[in-house]
């Protein structure tokens, strides 16, 4: 086996070794059991007292969502205005200008919803002040929001019948103080020691070997890059994201960042098993998610390592695989691995240009975001998966001759309605968005626009179509990576993706929390031999099939016009 392959296997193995105990730890934190980090207690109590919040006050699912949406709206307003007026604020050594309202709208939403689609470049689009107090702040709280919502669902699943799902503020704060912050400190330390900048100094000037003078941006980046991955945010300090040598200096930092973005999504699955005391149920979910990851990862690695047939036809050897858009210090396998995990867990950071990957890889990235539940983002991954469980439970419950039930609660019309809306939403946003932009280009819209639709795409044909499809998919999956090659900092893209972002973030949180809350308030039906068991491999396969047929097949015609057409014209 070659070292490149060994490298990613080691990376994944270390991820699991950390995620499993982390999952048990997270379950303990929210079950209120003793943990190593109990010394955070006084700090948390101080914050609660300052805010006038009683963390022991139990909330039902509606109160949870109300708190969640209110605080998120507040954060949006805060971020929006800071980004517009950042040029008037301190910590701006490079004299960057304030953002335009449509860009600030897009950026504020994008970071609020844990997506981190960036229509600006970190070096010039934001200041150190907004990097820290808008970007980094939102990267923390958006990840914590997702986890806090998921913990409410955990609590709903744990009880036989209850309306009390814990306290949202308690979940939010404990996620930050006991999970995100401590791990971030460790990661930031590793990054800083490997060369990632952590200073407030402005641009540096160097003279390259060729004799050119180059301005190099710096800043207090290490901490932000740590939470960017740990919180599955993905928005880079620098425009080039983790391709940038200062954001991701060497193979070790590459491994660290790859591990950082996967540990919480995987740990949350284990935490579910520990918290509701159904470990086998969690292992089945983990199995399905891992199978999904491998189904996307293996074709990606094969197509990237195999190189580009068009280059082979010219008689040029590609011993290192398809290297366009990739960093020599990572190689095609590590880049392929990264491209898969960053799309399945909605991080969206990149260590190579997705626009340059082979068509098969591009399709795998798209499918990863279209399904959006193989591990998935912090907290929200399992929430997305939960919807598919409900649909799978409904169909397979009937198949065993009972009206469907999940965890001892009947799944009825109201829950089905919510699940159906959420399952519908994702294809709707992606396809409608792409249809809108395709229509604009095909029918010559926007003759008077500053950036005309005809000038949006750098590539014609199938690849250009993939670029648009990718942009909306990334927005709808709250992923944030870009296929790039798309001129996206203009009113059309800023506004349209902005709305996709809001809808695709909050509805998929509201839906599962509401379903879990409604289910938990129903009468508990004890299990019997005739009850459908959801912790078996069979049910796992059923869920997988539901995900494939609903989430992937709806996109088949769109994929056929993009990456599939490109693939078949290349091979």
């Amino acid at each position: 086996m070659n070292t490149e392959l060994l490298g990613i296997i080691a990376t994944y193995a270390i991820t699991l070794l950390i995620a499993f105990p982390l999952g048990r730890y997270i379950a303990k934190v929210f079950a209120g059991q003793r943990t190593l980090l109990d010394f955070m207690g006084p700090l948390e109590r101080g914050i609660f007292r300052f805010c006038g919040i009683d963390p022991r006050e139990e909330m039902n699912w509606k109160q949870h969502l109300k708190a969640l949406l209110t605080i998120n709206m507040l954060w949006f307003v805060y971020a929006f205005f800071l980004l517009i007026f950042q040029d008037k604020l301190p910590l701006n050594p490079d004299q960057n200008v304030g953002q335009t309202p449509d860009l600030a709208f897009n950026t504020a939403i994008s970071f609020l919803v844990n997506c981190n689609l960036q229509h600006y470049s970190g070096e010039s689009g934001v200041t150190y002040f907004t990097q820290l107090f808008v970007i980094t702040f939102l990267q923390f709280v958006s990840a914590a929001t997702g986890i806090a919502a998921l913990v409410a669902v955990f609590k709903a699943l744990r009880q036989k019948t209850t309306s009390q799902l814990g306290n949202f503020w308690d979940h939010l704060l404990k996620t930050t103080t006991r999970i995100l912050l401590p791990i971030c400190i460790v990661i930031a330390g590793i990054l800083a020691f490997r060369g990632t900048p952590a200073s407030f100094a402005g641009k540096d000037t160097i003279v390259t070997l060729q004799g050119d003078t180059v301005q190099v941006s710096r800043g207090p980046a290490a901490g932000m890059i740590a939470i960017k991955h740990l919180g599955t945010n993905g928005g880079g300090w620098f425009g080039a994201n983790s391709i940038h040598p200062l954001e991701n200096p060497d193979y070790l930092t590459n491994m660290t960042e790859a591990i950082a973005q996967l540990i919480i999504p995987i740990a949350m699955v284990f935490a579910l098993g520990f918290f509701i005391q159904r470990k086998k149920f969690a292992y089945v979910i983990f199995g399905v998610m891992t199978a999904g990851m491998l189904a996307l990862l293996i074709p990606t690695i094969i197509s990237e390592v195999g190189g580009n047939p068009a280059i082979s036809q010219m008689g040029i050897s590609q011993a290192t695989g398809a290297m366009e858009g990739k960093e020599v210090r990572f190689g095609p396998t590590a880049t392929a691995y990264w491209s898969t995990i960053t799309t399945i867990v909605s991080t969206g950071s990149v260590n190579g240009f997705h626009d340059s990957t082979m068509p098969m890889t591009g399709m795998m990235q798209l499918i990863a975001m279209m399904t959006n539940c193989f591990y998935g983002g912090c907290g929200v991954g399992i929430l997305n998966y939960f919807i598919f469980i409900i649909i799978a439970v409904f169909i397979s419950g009937l198949m065993v001759g009972r009206t469907p039930e999940f965890m001892g609660h009947k799944v009825e019309a109201r829950e089905m309605k919510i699940a159906a809306i959420i399952a519908l939403l994702h294809p709707f946003l992606i396809l409608a968005g792409t249809a809108l932009s395709s229509f604009a280009i095909a029918h010559g819209w926007g003759a008077g626009w500053a950036t005309q639709p005809g000038a949006w795409l750098n590539n014609p044909g199938y690849h250009g179509f993939s670029e648009m499809l990718y942009e909306y998919t990334s927005a709808a999956a709250n992923n944030g990576s870009g296929f790039e090659g798309l001129t996206d900092n203009n009113i059309f893209w800023n506004v349209s993706t902005g709305f996709v972002l809001i809808l695709s973030r909050f509805l998929p949180i509201i839906g599962p929390v509401a379903i879990a809350g409604i289910l938990a308030s129903k009468k508990h039906v004890p299990e019997s031999a005739g009850t459908l068991r959801t912790d078996t491999a069979t049910f796992g396969i059923m869920t997988f099939a539901v995900i494939v047929i609903i989430a992937a097949l709806a996109f088949f015609p769109a994929l056929a016009l993009g990456p599939i057409a490109e693939y078949f014209s290349l091979y």
């Binding site: 065993v400 001759g401 009206t403 159906a420 294809p427 809108l436 078996t536 099939a545 015609p557």
Partner: protein, 682 residues
């Protein structure tokens, strides 16, 4: 049981269903089924396109023949779906009608309180003129004109027209056996009956109305499934609508026929077309088992039942106790003991007495003679019965303490070994019957409850379904426990009073379980109403029948088990056909998507994995497959998917392989085969 017409498609019903298929095209009726409604809209659009291609020279929408074919196939899709519903309705109605026919226009001897000449005058009127509360008289040979309750008299009645059981039954005023059913025949005696349901109000009438579209309510599970199917339909509307700008961008013209075909193929038409047929067929299957359901929901709930309350007598055990063993006292000759036992029982008409004679065998009884003997009947005081032979021999058989008193009075000791045996028999759930000859104890006969053959296998089957069985009996706890263990029920209620049943149901329901029970008496009515599935026996009182949500015409207590299976079958059929329908989409995508783009993007030949002949044939094969799969599955929808009690996980695995994997594979083969045929024409 009545002989059942098990043909799925009798010619007369098919005719009715065919014409109903067209009537149901009415959009106002079809809108109840969102999936098929959208197909109908698509068909309408195709009609317009077909007419357009017929009268214009515009070739961009494909040839007239091609569009016409697509239009016809889509119309057939809707018609097939309608036919499925219509044939299910027709079958259910025919079944109910055949039961109802027996009592239509029978002459009724109505009692007029104030007549023209006398009070309580009797006037013959057609049964259709009877109203609830009216009184009528039935005499031997009369067919009872309407459902009712006997207010005066006692009669033996032939109920074979309803139940198929030829032995007559006794019905009498007062008590739990007072109910009579229209269409049955009075064999002896005269009864006065009060009408409990006027014409058009009986359970059968209600059932027929349920089967017919008008008053049929969707069950909660049907609603939830319809929501799921509607959302699938919506997804595919989105897929197809957005495809237009995509195709514009790729500069690929797509015909309207192709758009609509893609849409119709992707939406779950198979389950959409069969859904209501499945529900009706469930009620119909119940009716074929001679159970009238008062709502579709009741059948659905039956599939969910967790606990079954079953009466011991008649359900678990054969009616009465039977003699199983002779135990003579030590030193007494066995043959002699049996001879005396039989002598003492020959004239005894009770089931126990008969069973003793039976156990001894024909040789013993035929060798004996009762000439000149005097029968001593059972009385409450002596608690024994017997016979005084002409030679003066007194034979008595009775309860342990009764015979002990008898022998003690005569100065005889009670043999210790027999006393021991009496205890042992009681401990084994049996009843000891001590026999004395001339007030001297000669031995004991063991009477046992006979558990119905095969019943413990049925309980085992229920257990694997996840249904808990509970035996209800008036016996003491010891006997009850013994029989419960032997029959294999999970729990029992001993010395049960009607209130105990009610309390047990409440307790189970509080812990979230669904309970089914069967009952006939008026004192069962509250429990029948409380139970999630209450099956009243047809012979039961009106109150019981009103309280339950099903009526069993056979009065067969084991029917509950069948009802649970019918419910499970109904739910399973829905689930498996939904799975099949959705799994079919994989193949349809691979047929249609390449066909849409192949002309302008030749590279997409790569995903034409079925190697279909041309874009037109690919699309036609997909819609044709989509249409004909509906009638092909009608038999399955009507009969229901076989339920196998192999545990939920194994069942899921089995159905997932058959209907999930099968649903993926079958259309690949089907579409390819159809394409080969269609290619001959296009």
């Amino acid at each position: 049981m009545k002989t059942k017409d098990n043909k799925l498609f009798p010619a007369d019903l098919v005719k009715v269903a065919l014409s109903q298929s067209f009537v149901k095209l009415n959009p106002r009726l079809l809108i109840r089924n969102p999936v098929m409604f959208t197909v109908e809209l698509g068909t309408l659009v195709m009609l317009i396109v077909t007419l357009y291609t017929a009268f214009s020279n515009d070739a961009s929408q494909g040839s007239f023949g091609y569009n016409l074919t697509v239009f016809i196939v889509l119309l057939l899709t809707v018609l097939f779906g309608n036919f499925a519903e219509a044939i299910a309705e027709a079958r259910g109605k025919a079944q109910a009608e055949s039961l109802r026919k027996t009592r239509e226009d029978t002459p009724a001897k109505k009692v007029l309180a104030v007549g023209e000449i006398f009070t309580d005058e009797i006037k013959v009127v057609p049964s259709s003129q009877l109203h609830k509360g009216d009184l009528f008289v039935c005499e031997p040979g009369d067919v009872i004109p309407a459902d009712g309750e006997i207010v005066k008299g006692l009669a033996s009645i032939d109920e074979s027209a309803i139940t198929g059981e030829s032995a007559p039954v006794i019905r009498e005023a007062g008590g739990d056996k007072s109910s009579v059913v229209g269409g049955t025949k009075v064999l002896s005696d005269r009864i006065v009956v009060r009408v409990s349901a006027g014409a058009g109000e009986s359970f059968l009438d209600k059932m027929i109305a349920l089967v017919e579209g008008a008053s049929r309510q969707k069950t909660p599970n049907e609603i939830a499934l319809t929501i799921l199917l509607a959302s699938f339909t919506l997804v595919f509307i989105i897929v197809c609508v957005t495809l237009k700008p995509f195709a514009d961008f790729a500069q690929t013209p797509i015909t309207i026929a192709a758009f609509i075909s893609l849409f119709v193929c992707l939406i779950p038409t198979t389950i959409g077309g069969l859904l209501s047929a499945i529900g009706i067929a469930g009620m119909d299957r119940a009716l074929r088992a001679n159970v009238i359901t008062k709502s579709g929901k009741a059948v659905e709930t039956a599939g969910d039942v967790d606990v079954l309350l079953l009466d011991k007598t008649g359900t678990i055990t054969i009616g009465n106790r039977k003699a199983t063993n002779f135990y003579p006292t030590n030193g007494y000759d066995t043959a002699e003991f049996i001879r005396y036992s039989v002598l003492g029982s020959l004239a005894d008409e009770t089931p126990e007495g008969k069973s003793i004679v039976e156990l001894a065998g024909r040789e013993v009884s035929s060798s004996l003679s009762l000439n000149g003997a005097q029968l001593v009947p059972f009385t409450a005081e002596t608690r024994s019965s017997g016979i005084n032979m002409s030679n003066g021999t007194r034979i008595r058989k009775g309860a342990f303490d009764a015979i002990r008193n008898l022998s003690a009075k005569a100065g005889n000791d009670f043999p210790a070994d027999t006393a021991e045996m009496v205890k042992k028999i009681s401990g084994n759930g049996g009843t000891p019957l001590v026999v004395s000859v001339n007030d001297k104890v000669t031995g004991v006969i063991e009477l046992q409850d006979i558990i119905k053959p095969g019943i413990s296998e049925r309980f085992e089957r229920l257990r694997r379904m996840g249904v808990k069985t509970v035996m209800v009996t008036g016996d003491n706890p010891l006997t009850a426990k013994f029989i419960a263990d032997k029959a294999g029920v999970d729990d029992f209620i001993a010395e049960a009073k009607p209130e105990d049943k009610m309390a047990y149901i409440r307790k189970e329901q509080q812990s979230g379980r669904l309970v089914a029970m069967m009952g006939d008496g008026t004192n069962d009515a509250p429990a029948l109403a409380q139970a999630d599935v209450g099956v009243a026996m047809n012979s039961g009182t009106q109150a019981a029948k009103e309280a339950g949500n099903m009526v069993d015409l056979d009065n067969d207590p084991t029917k509950l088990i069948e009802i649970v299976e019918i419910g499970k079958q109904l739910l399973m059929t829905r689930g498996t056909l939904t799975t099949f329908s959705i799994a079919n989409d994989v193949a349809k995508y691979f047929a249609i998507v390449p066909a849409l783009f192949i002309l302008s993007v030749p590279a997409l030949q790569g995903i034409n994995i079925m190697n279909l002949h041309s874009p037109e044939t690919a699309i036609l094969s997909a819609v044709i497959f989509n249409a004909i799969i509906i009638p092909l599955l009608i038999p399955l929808a009507l009969r229901g998917v076989a339920y196998k009690p192999i545990g939920a996980s194994a069942l899921l695995r089995r159905n997932l392989v058959i209907y999930g994997l099968g649903g993926v594979v079958v259309p690949f083969i089907g579409i390819k085969l159809i394409d080969m045929v269609v290619a001959l024409f296009f």
